[in-house]
Amino acid sequence: MTPFEIVMLAIRSAAEASKLANLLVERAKRNAELTSEEEAQVDARHAEIMSQSHWQLPPS
């Protein structure tokens, strides 16, 4: 792995960590049960995330 690749990976990891932190803060502000409508929105978001290629098992 080249130094450039190492730096790029570090930047990407930091960005992912920051994204997660922001999500956690956002959720901590609101501690209420989801409504049916919100449940549907969350389900749709999860389905979209989990349909991406990195969620599929790699070919053996």
Binding site: E16, W55, P58
Partner: protein, 131 residues
């Protein structure tokens, strides 16, 4: 699924932190925690699986365990998440003690999988920054 005792302290800490948060009036803390956990777990596992896929060649040689955990999560996380959502909805509709127990169990399974992803993200960072 095998229970890994290494994750128990982290699981306990997560439960303490979740318990420390006050829920909105009329909201059941166990439901709020379960819904927050489901959403947070999807994001955490997603982050880990993306890192694993993007760096699969390098990770295979530097941290093969990481690939094993990624595939375990690909197999076990989606059904565990679905169980958690089903248990949450069942409890919200009936609020019985049995349903509450089911919800706690489903939450513990998802939390344990999420913690595996958290641990592997840390491992991946270590492998990438200290080849």
């Amino acid at each position: 699924m095998k229970t890994n005792l290494r994750y128990l302290p982290l699981l306990a800490l997560a439960l303490i932190l979740f318990n420390g948060c006050q829920t909105a009036p009329g909201s059941d803390p166990i439901v709020v925690r379960a819904e927050q956990l489901a959403d947070m777990a999807v994001d955490t596992v997603d982050t880990f699986l993306k890192i694993e896929e993007d760096n699969r060649v390098m990770i295979t040689s530097l941290a093969p365990r990481l690939g094993e955990v990624a595939n375990l999560l690909r197999r076990e996380f989606p059904p565990a998440l679905q169980k958690l959502k089903d248990a949450t909805r069942a409890y919200k509709s009936s609020r019985t003690q049995d349903m509450k127990t089911d919800l706690s169990t489903a939450s513990a399974v998802v939390e344990q999988l999420r913690m595996q992803a958290v641990e592997q993200i840390a491992q991946a960072k270590q492998a990438q920054l200290n080849p």
